[in-house]
């Protein structure tokens, strides 16, 4: 790979006596893939846009006073009554699509990252417990995981939302229930190997409390595969949330995520007004692809089997 020489040589300082920390090695290995770095940059930009949406969006799409119904369904590039240009057009309410997408990203990312984080905590804890306790606990937890993974994610999510109804919190709950099993399985797999190592035995001999052994000794050594799974799961969660919202089972209409924005444009598309659905979809696509690119490279870097 010629990329390594291009990217890895940022400071051409004396390299022979410098001790590379694991983190530095991780960063330089990650940077070997230009595509992954590109993905990371794009994702960072998207995240920044989402976080700072209220300050950089040309319009607050939820402030009815700023909306003018006369601006409804304008083509991209037209200038509206408020005096600024709708670069991505407007929806049926006269909302600027660009502002709508920025606010929609906020909700999509919040729900995606939030549910992935909660699922990670729940799943990793249960996975650790299953591996460390073994026997009955292990059987019960893993049977549950097997059972759940035998059903497709959309079906599980559909079932839970059929029980709970719409709402951001309910979507998060549904996504957590869908995702925890992936984390649990991943962590258990690694933890089963790690718990036989000497440092766990040493910790046990010191009579450390179980929770301390689990979270201070076992967990940090199970992190690499967990990070990879978590990255991929964020992308999956965002996609699933968008799908559910599109089906009308996800976020409420007052807090539209990207999926709901796309659904809103559905009826207008048949009359050729493509932009209401098209641009939110592009935003969704770029978000998912950039996360997957980063995740792909993380998997290569963190996979111990591929270590040179």
């Amino acid at each position: 790979m010629s990329d390594a020489t291009v990217n890895g040589a940022a400071p051409p300082a004396p390299r022979k006596d410098k001790v590379e920390t694991p983190f530095q090695r991780f960063v330089s290995e990650f940077a070997e893939s230009k595509i992954a770095v590109g993905g990371l940059i794009v994702f960072t930009a998207i995240a920044l846009v989402a976080i700072f949406a209220p300050w950089i969006a040309p319009q607050d799409p939820y402030d009815l006073a700023q909306l003018d119904i006369m601006d409804g369904r304008q083509e991209p590039g037209t200038t509206g009554g408020a005096g600024f240009t709708f670069w991505l057009g407007t929806d049926d309410q006269g909302r600027d699509m660009m502002s709508g997408i920025m606010y929609g990203l906020r909700i999509s990312l919040m729900v995606g990252a939030g549910s992935a984080l909660i699922a990670c905590v729940v799943g990793a804890s249960l996975g650790l417990l299953a591996a460390y306790a073994g026997k009955k606990t292990d059987t019960v937890i893993m049977r549950l995981v097997d059972l759940q993974l035998s059903f497709p994610s959309i079906l599980v999510a559909l079932m839970i939302l059929a029980f709970l109804g719409k709402g951001i919190m309910n979507v998060v709950i549904a996504l957590v229930i869908v995702e925890w099993a992936y984390y649990a399985r991943t962590v258990r797999g690694t933890a089963l190997v790690e718990r036989r190592r000497e440092y766990i035995e040493a910790a046990q001999c010191l009579a450390l409390p179980t929770y301390r052994i689990l979270f201070r000794h076992l967990l940090p050594n199970c992190l690499p595969p967990l990070i990879v799974v978590a990255t991929m799961q964020v992308a999956r969660a965002i996609a699933l949330e968008a799908t559910l919202s599109f089906l009308g089972l996800g976020v409420p209409i007052t807090e539209p995520s990207l999926g709901l924005l796309i659904a809103n444009g559905y009826e207008y598309m048949l009359s050729g007004k493509y932009w209401i659905s098209f641009y939110p979809g592009i935003a969704l696509l770029i978000t998912i692809v950039s996360i997957n690119l980063v995740g792909d490279q993380l998997r290569d870097v963190l996979n111990p089997r591929l270590k040179k």
């Binding site: 035998s150 029980f163 598309m269 659905s277 098209f278 696509l285 692809v289």
Partner: protein, 325 residues
Amino acid sequence: MTVYLVRRLIQALFVVLAMSVIVFVGVFAIGDPVEILISPDADQIERERAVQALGLDLPLWHQYLVFLGNALQGDLGRSFVFNEPALKLILQRMPATLELAFGAMFLSILIGLPLGLYAGLRPNAPASKAIMAGSILGFSLPTFWVGLMLIMVFAVQLGWLPSTGRGDTGALFGLQWSFLTVDGLAHMAMPALNLALFKISLVIRLTRAGVRETMLMDYVKFARAKGLSPARVTFVHVFKNILIPVVTVVGLELGSTIAFSVVTESVFAWPGMGKLIIDSINVLDRPVIVAYLMIIVLMFITINLIVDLTYSMLDPRVRLETKGT
């Protein structure tokens, strides 16, 4: 083997039972159907009569036992909205969904296999790289959005294909099928392609990996050394061997294809089970929701059971493992 079979069957039965409790309690925990189904102008007596007619005045456990007893006789309740047996409603829509799912799986093999084969044989060609990039996109693209874009391009802009519905149907085995008429096929093309997108990517990746592995095998080298034509080596010796795992995986995906058709059916207004369940969730038509979930759960448990049994027949290690625990 018999012991394993019996154990596995009992296990499946328990899962069905557990799922029926979860589904029943879950669905009956949302909102009060009385509020939705009875007009707010109705007086107290009318209300009570409706509640009794729907059996909603009984305690939940009693309702569940009634539900379970009826379910065993093939009665999963009457739809609040259509006032027809829920099971009948779903079975009516099932052919449309199955047709779509099989169409999608057929397409995924038809498109995925040749592309994967090419990418596997020439891993460094620019076209192969494009195919692999396309397959990553196929995994990442949100299905429903691709469906919308298909409608936009082929139905709205070009006007080649109809955007929604099922079109004309022809009768076979007493059921209506779209694939028997030209109009029906035109209606089916976009939804099937949309549903197939994910599977196409999957088949491409499986085929490519399979080809690259098989090409290094001794028997392929031997076939080449024997002087067989490259075409014969590829299509007889390599192709046959990669076909088995690819077809197995595609077969395993049948269940998830049926589940994901919920999305495609909603986009293309395809009148299958998936569209029915989404509509039913939106109006809280509980018997239909329960019936759909029970049928699909039963379907999955059956598929998983068949898969497990086939594997255990092929691989004795699976049998021994379950004996140990």
